[in-house]
Symmetry: C2
Subunit: 248 residues, 2 copies
Amino acid sequence: MRVDVFFTAREAAPGDVAGRVVAVIDVLRASSCIAAALANGARAIFPGETTEAVLTRARAFDRGEVRLAGERRMRKIEGFDLGNSPLEFTRDAVEGRTVLMTTTNGTAAFGATQGAREVYVAAYVNFSPVAEVLRRALRAGADVAIVCAGQDGQFALEDAACAGRLVQHVTRRLAPVAMNDGALAAAQLHRKFGGDVWELFETSRHGQALAEAGFAADLVACATMDAYPVVPAYADRQITRLGPPVEA
Amino acid sequence: MRVDVFFTAREAAPGDVAGRVVAVIDVLRASSCIAAALANGARAIFPGETTEAVLTRARAFDRGEVRLAGERRMRKIEGFDLGNSPLEFTRDAVEGRTVLMTTTNGTAAFGATQGAREVYVAAYVNFSPVAEVLRRALRAGADVAIVCAGQDGQFALEDAACAGRLVQHVTRRLAPVAMNDGALAAAQLHRKFGGDVWELFETSRHGQALAEAGFAADLVACATMDAYPVVPAYADRQITRLGPPVEA
């Protein structure tokens, strides 16, 4: 029974995720978009590492069945339907459809989860239900690994703080749970920076960059705790909603 | 004028160190050994990534001129003169000699410093003189990058806290200095965990592993602030002492 946190996908070695229950975090903004899409009735999301991977997969669908989504340097990819803003993943846009998605940091993180027993996608917008799933797994004896997407392969404060909040919730009132240094540090960073998520985004470099690029509304959306209370589960290269279908 | 912290060598992209003044940190124990060796009169230290690299370089010297040093899984490499314990790098052992050294995490970190303007080696045992050199560089307009060796490519709390202490000292009473998320986080981790270095080592996974393996005395040595107050400078693949030679 242990909880480890990895601040970048490259930190997580195969042995760190094999057989474990894993949460992938890319608060700004891929994880938040995935939760928004599933909460608004998307059938599934396929994360792809490249634009080409998304376009190739799109050929397997009728055009009306899918939405192409993704960003490069924060902006929507040319010719795609949606960017990487959770506010774009409305019911009108995604209900009943499959979302094919590529983002700079978020989708690459799934590559680090090979061999995991279960993989979930976490953000502030779906914090509580994912925390509950992880907590139950831990109490049932599973080891948990939390993999932050980070920013261009580097530590990102908002992902670290969200990971620390998960560590805190998942281990609360349990017998001492073994943790790696990353989990200890993340919990502390949550206590210092994570109390007010909006302030956290104003502090983090990626939050600042998004605000400067005109995405302040996205920051508000991504800071809204449990706005999209779904548990996105990743398996067989697709993400679907755990549990009963969304009510219309 | 900025200070960035990278928690693993792989986090630091070439553009993050190019033209900068860089500090490499591997508190447990390579940085501490390097400071001990130079304080005790070693001529130079050659960090090598592998045992083979050390043995190959040794051929360029008379056997009496060099000391072979290094560890794998915390233990001295078979046939080498010294392990990775700062207490082994005594004046008797190293004075006037060149140390050829390989360690699991420490020496690899130098590979991430290509293109840097200057590279120094920092630990708690030589904290103040290195902090002063970095602070002067920053005040003179340089950008500073602090690269933590980490543990097997992963975040290590003791390196992060030492980096945070550097950030705090280097930026004190200066006009706001730009920082990446790593530097913000490191400074906070220093404030939380770094006040008592011995306690920090008891908390960190690598510190615990060393204590369990019988290296508690090394932890005491590595926790002793400014015990070896030298500035190790890395250039042309060797580390020498900045400033006047050690007095006998």
